[in-house]
């Protein structure tokens, strides 16, 4: 009986803890937005973070995009050729990439490549009292350290997602046209006929912007909130990757419901 009460108490505590953490993170987001003036007045701060988060993630994102596109084309061929519709491979690859895989997979890669780095960096700055030193120098660490990283992430992820999709389509093209021998004209024309600018491309970009905000917020929040110890930083980094992945997938579902409902009707 006591053990049961303990379990319920534990669940309750973690629920309350989780909810108040979400509240804290939301407050943190507003704090970042309120202190973003510095980032816009001194774009160089943000440029540096775009370099750290975006440019350095370029290779992994592009390579993954290429391979995902190639695999999609190969797997699609299996099914589509059965119905004699292997020309639709372009549609399959492009639709899947632009709408879903581009933003989602790029977001996941970004969380584990750049987000974890952000968390570790800010957490370590906290541990080594660099943030406290800034504060004592009358420099707001949120304005100087956190906000530029946040904006760097928000700018980088949509660009990375677009490149992921582009390279994916190119990979699909390589496999479908060069390897399997689908007619190149049919590949492109079918793709263009089915992928709509608004429903396909634009919604994909909107998704990646939302994921960029979510992942960047989680990364800087976990870093800023990390326990100033070695384990604290390592736990925060892990949490960044796990929470980001969950947030991306959950947000993806919500956004998809909102965005593509109109088209299903």
């Amino acid at each position: 009986m006591n053990a049961l009460i303990e379990v319920i108490r534990g669940i309750g505590a973690s629920v309350i803890g989780g909810v108040s953490r979400i509240g804290y993170a939301t407050r943190f987001l507003f704090t970042i937005l309120a202190h973003s003036g510095t980032s816009f007045m001194r774009p160089r701060l943000v440029v540096r973070e775009v370099y750290q988060a975006g440019v350095l993630s370029l290779i992994i994102v592009c390579m993954s995009g290429l391979f995902v596109g190639m695999v999609l084309a190969l797997q699609g061929y299996e099914t589509l050729s059965r119905y004699g519709a292997s020309e639709s491979m372009g549609v399959l690859v492009a639709m899947a990439l632009v709408r879903e895989l581009g933003p989602v997979v790029a977001g996941l890669l970004f969380a584990s490549r750049a987000g974890s780095a952000m968390t570790a960096e800010i957490g370590l700055m906290k541990t080594t009292e660099q943030l406290a030193a800034m504060e004592v120098m009358a420099v707001d660490p949120i304005a100087r350290v956190v906000a530029p990283r946040f904006w760097g992430g928000v700018i980088s992820l949509p660009l990375l997602a677009v490149l992921f999709s582009t390279l994916g389509v190119f990979g699909g093209f390589l496999v479908a046209v060069k390897l399997i021998g689908v007619d190149s004209g049919a590949f492109w024309s079918q793709m263009q006929a089915s992928v709509d600018w608004h429903y396909g491309v634009l919604n994909g970009v909107i998704k990646s912007v939302v994921f960029g905000i979510a992942v960047s917020l989680i990364s800087v929040f976990e870093g800023y909130d990390a326990d100033p110890t070695a384990e604290g930083v390592s736990a925060a980094t892990t949490r960044t990757v796990v929470t980001s992945a969950l947030a991306i997938l959950a947000l993806d579902f919500v956004l998809t419901v909102f965005m593509f409902r109109g088209e299903i009707n």
């Binding site: 003036g37 510095t38 960096e121 370590l124 700055m125 080594t128 009292e129 660099q130 406290a132 030193a133 504060e135 004592v136 120098m137 009358a138 420099v139 100087r144």
Partner: protein, 367 residues
């Protein structure tokens, strides 16, 4: 101990200290000020408080322009006034009876019956009262975990005292609003326990950091200023290195240069000697003394290195269990018969500070 400047035990020559106008003499400072004035017509430095200029001014443009001329003149006069200030302090700070010295001079920092605890149950400080006079170098000593660092945190406004008053320049730190706290911290330099250098910036950029954040000085002026500060700590040659390429002693000196980057009124040093070899240790110690005198600063030094601090400080407070247990100037501490002071100065393993952590009696534990 007649005066601060004259009783200088340091062997490092006083000349190349990094305070721009005071040590360079009026001629150069006039030139620099003219240069500054000339430049600031093009890129107006925005003023928020009388003597300090800020980049992030929220003042309206009209207010700024109206304020600008007045504040700038004020700043220039302040720069000019600095050498005299030092002379005045060196001659005026004559303590006839050193044991009661602090109360004689105008105090810059006062702690009045201050208590503080991170949690309600466990008190770190309980009823600490201490005074730091202007222009003095005061050490706060005690064993590890006795609340020394907490005192510094209270002074720089990272924590607020749960009771009692923390006054800096006559102003209570606890009641400062955002703007005042900003101004307060702008007048303050703090050296963190392990330096807290920004690891992603070079040595040069570390010292330029507070200047770039708080001033609109053109890059060439910052360049000169930073090299002067680095020269003062003897590391001008290391400007391009990264903090990870420095030895512990060098990193501490760079942090010291960053602490004095904006010529603070009050410098706080948190364990500046921790983990340094004897040579670096005495270099850092003498720099602290020299900078304090040359820049006319007031310094609070938190340390447990009794031998080094006896060489450089003016006055010592001993803290134990969150209380001031003894205080006095260096000769009186040396001569003191107080058992705590004796244990601390002589480094006895057992004494008023117990060797054993509070526990049940041996008989009970081994029963």
């Amino acid at each position: 101990m007649p005066c601060v400047g004259a009783q200088n035990p340091c062997r490092i020559p006083l000349r190349p200290v990094g305070a721009l106008p005071p040590v360079l003499g009026p001629k150069r400072s006039a030139r620099t000020s003219l240069k500054l004035m000339h430049l600031s017509v093009k890129t107006p430095i925005k003023f928020k408080h009388k003597c300090y200029f800020y980049k992030k001014s929220t003042l309206s443009i009209i207010g700024m322009l109206a304020f600008f001329k007045y504040s700038f003149l004020k700043k220039v006069t302040r720069q000019f006034a600095r050498p005299d200030t030092i002379i005045r302090m060196s001659s005026a700070a004559d303590f006839s009876s050193p044991a009661t010295a602090p109360s004689h001079c105008e105090p810059l920092v006062e702690l009045k019956d201050v208590s503080f605890g991170y949690t309600r149950t466990r008190k770190i400080l309980s009823g600490v009262t201490l005074t730091v006079p202007k222009g003095k170098l005061v050490a706060v000593m005690g064993g590890s975990g006795c609340g020394k660092t907490t005192i510094l945190r209270l002074l720089c406004g990272q924590h607020r005292a749960s009771s009692g008053e923390v006054l800096v320049g006559g102003q209570s730190v606890a009641t400062m609003d955002r703007e005042q706290m900003f101004a307060h911290r702008r007048r303050l330099g703090m050296l963190f326990q392990f330096g807290a250098l920004f690891t992603d910036l070079s040595v040069f950029d570390n010292i330029a950091f507070p200047m770039r954040e708080h001033t609109d000085l053109p890059e060439e002026v910052i360049h000169d200023l930073v090299l002067m500060k680095l020269n003062a700590v003897g590391l001008r040659g290391a400007a391009r290195l990264k903090p990870s390429e420095l030895s512990g002693g060098m990193a501490r000196r760079v942090a010291l240069a960053r602490t004095i980057a904006l010529d603070p009124q009050l410098a706080l040093y948190d364990e500046p000697f921790a983990g340094l070899d004897p040579i670096s240790l005495s270099v850092v110690g003498q720099l602290i003394r020299k900078l304090n005198d040359a820049l006319g600063m007031t310094s609070v030094l938190v340390t447990h290195d009794i031998a080094e601090s006896m060489k450089i400080v003016d006055y010592i407070y001993f803290i134990s269990d969150g209380r001031v247990v003894a205080h006095g100037d260096v000769p009186s501490i040396r001569a003191s018969k107080d058992p705590f002071v004796r244990q601390f100065v002589d480094g006895e393993p057992d004494g008023p500070v117990r060797f054993h952590y509070p526990a049940k009696t041996l008989v009970e534990d081994f029963a």
